[in-house]
Symmetry: C2
Subunit: 405 residues, 2 copies
């Protein structure tokens, strides 16, 4: 069956700025293998497999594929479906009917779990399927990876956003709170630190879900920073939680949406930022307090991408095809750092990645719990890629006062 020459690729979970690089990596690399006659793409992830909603990517031009690779979001469409056993049986029926021998699924830890289930069910059903998971997630929360494709570009967006927000806040001083995506892992929120250039620049305070968020301590931190600099720029992860593990956002809204995976819906609402601003305003008596929620911009904004991320996202797609064609087992392609800065790829067992969540190392979080360390800055910097915009200041050549009132 694996000699049928048909492969299927799909994209799952939240889109990223470079997920189409991985898709195009699969398609173009597959064209180099004479055994592969057809490359199908399933529309909207596993949902498209069950619905037999396929496009023939073999008929695409290389030129258009390259242009799609440079376009953010999932060109094939995505899904939040997480297949159970019955769902997988439906997937098999379709794979068998279309004589698919290789299945590539680009996604995060939920998608890796989907690949794991599909792979196991194929084995149980004695269906000769090679299943490869290709990593992507802006959350950077895949176990076994130095980092994941999609994260560097989102991190670059966050760093650039904070670099600009810091300048704006310096021009019109006050308190600025921005809420960044990241349910359990604080990598993306921590990336805000790379927007800082001068010692008194913001973000002055960074709160990640790896540390308990204590409202009173937060307010004390803000007060101290405001008194020191006359302003305060704060990065807060959407996933910050209290001592009991309850999301701070949940204090506001009792009926937050949960998706099919049981994940609490924290994105798509400005509630957390507004709540924190109100606390600062009312309890610290600071007048100018502003809050932003970066929302979908941080994963979908067109025109803010790391060239390093683009290259690696392309390579994980290419390597996935090589592992599938030359290798003898299913797995997940993982990124390993080999130098400063270079990477290599390896195929790791699916259960290394599937359904598990990586969080920030303690070495990346400062002892204060509200900043990152130099180790984190050093780890992240090369991922942001070339051409990062830079901020400059006027030098303080003060003019002597005449009236001196």
């Amino acid at each position: 069956m694996r000699q049928s020459g048909k492969i299927l690729v799909a994209q799952g979970g939240g889109p990223t700025a470079v997920i189409n690089q991985s898709l195009v990596g699969v398609v173009l690399e597959a064209r180099r293998f004479r055994d592969i006659q057809r490359v199908y793409g399933a529309r909207h992830g596993v949902r498209g497999i069950v619905d037999e909603d396929f496009v023939d990517l073999t008929q695409e031009t290389s030129h258009n594929l390259e242009q799609v690779a440079d376009t953010p979001a999932s060109a094939l469409g995505s899904t939040r479906d997480k297949p159970d056993l019955a769902y997988c049986h439906e997937i098999f029926k379709v794979l068998q009917a279309h004589e698919i021998g290789h299945f590539f699924y680009i996604g995060g830890n939920d998608s890796a779990d989907t690949v794991r289930i599909v792979s196991e069910e194929a084995r149980k059903a004695a269906y000769p399927l090679r299943s490869i998971h290709i990593p992507k997630t802006i959350d950077n929360d895949l176990v076994g990876n130095d980092h994941t494709p999609g994260f560097p570009s989102a991190a670059r967006f966050v760093a650039q956003a904070f670099a600009g927000a810091n300048l704006d806040n310096a021009a019109l001083p006050g308190v600025y709170v921005a809420v960044v995506m990241g349910r359990h892992a604080g990598f993306l929120t921590a990336a805000s630190a790379l927007g800082k250039k001068f010692p008194d620049d913001g973000p002055h305070l960074i709160y990640v879900p790896e540390r308990t968020f204590v409202l009173d301590r937060f307010l004390a931190d803000v007060k101290a920073t405001y008194e020191r600099f006359g302003r305060c720029v704060i990065a807060v992860s959407e996933g910050v939680h209290d001592e009991q593990g309850a999301p701070i956002a949940a204090r506001l809204a009792g009926d937050l949406e949960r998706d099919a995976h049981g994940n609490l819906q924290l994105s798509g609402s400005g509630a957390l930022a507004d709540l924190l601003c109100e606390e600062i305003r009312s309890r610290l008596k600071i007048k100018r307090v502003r809050g932003d929620t970066f929302g979908y911009l941080q994963r979908s904004f067109i025109g803010c991408v790391s060239d390093v991320d683009q290259r690696e996202a392309r390579e994980v797609g290419e390597k996935a095809v090589q592992y599938a064609m030359w290798g003898e087992c299913d797995g997940s392609v993982a990124i390993r750092r080999t130098g400063f800065y270079s990477v290599d790829y390896e195929l790791v067992p699916l259960d290394t990645v599937a359904g598990r969540t990586r969080m920030m190392d303690d070495a990346f979080i400062s002892a204060s719990g509200c900043d990152v360390t130099d180790a984190f800055r050093l780890w992240l910097r090369p991922l942001l890629g070339s051409g990062m915009p830079d901020a400059y200041r006027l030098r303080p050549n003060a003019v002597a006062k005449v009236l001196n009132r």
Copy 2:
């Protein structure tokens, strides 16, 4: 007094991506005039004048000035202060004490009003001061200008944001609402239309404050779009209001902040987006509804700038110095469009601009009231500058179904 050779420049109101281009335009152009010995910058606008908080920009290097020009937000700092008569007397005392002969204030219609008051008070006091207002505002709401520096870069951010949000929404379909800045003028919200490429792309609906926002009609529009495309991307101005002129956002929060100018504080809160999402969710029974508020990102994001905007912002600063040195009256530098695409500058009376608000022409808004016209697209496109990122799609080469369930 005007021969003293000292000029003073300041920046007021909300920062933009290119306001420092205008500042540097003033400083570098002033260096060409041998009569000018000193260029002072007031820190934080008129507040810095009253406080005698000046930096000597004559001592800056050209190299650093060029780097500051490329940095967003007000390098001198800004203020929301609006001087009254007593405030102006304080300004005069300082200007006289420092023998300032020329005053340049970079800002929006509130700043133009400040220049107007200062200019009139100088005349009444027989103090020989040349006062020039240099335009900037992301709202594009200055009367007498084709457009204002700062708007094109913010418009570019909004267009790129919607181009990306549309792709994200196509990948994971649902309803997406994004709230864009613009208190009275809808230009920036309307710029979302430039993020659209294919006929079925979003934004599908655009609501500007120039038209009354009727919640029931809004919901009917969303329902019709969702039924047609299976998804809906919506751009809403923060300043949308009901039949009585009351902001829709005010339905939520009764105690919204007002600044010193009496302006209602609509920015820095995610309330409007959250309210609209909740209406769509509860009344249209659509499950996946997400809202973003672009907030400060749209005016402060570093690394998203229009090169046309940069050039024009530099030029209004240069021209301001020329008008001041060679002209015989105070005024505001205005941009006139002379070709597709080219502009020229002229000095218009301060009361043309001061405290007045330009809104979108009827010719820019479609008859439906929830879209823009081609006239608007044609007007805006050249302002966005070169190198706009573009979105590509896979071609729909469908694979025949086998099971065909």
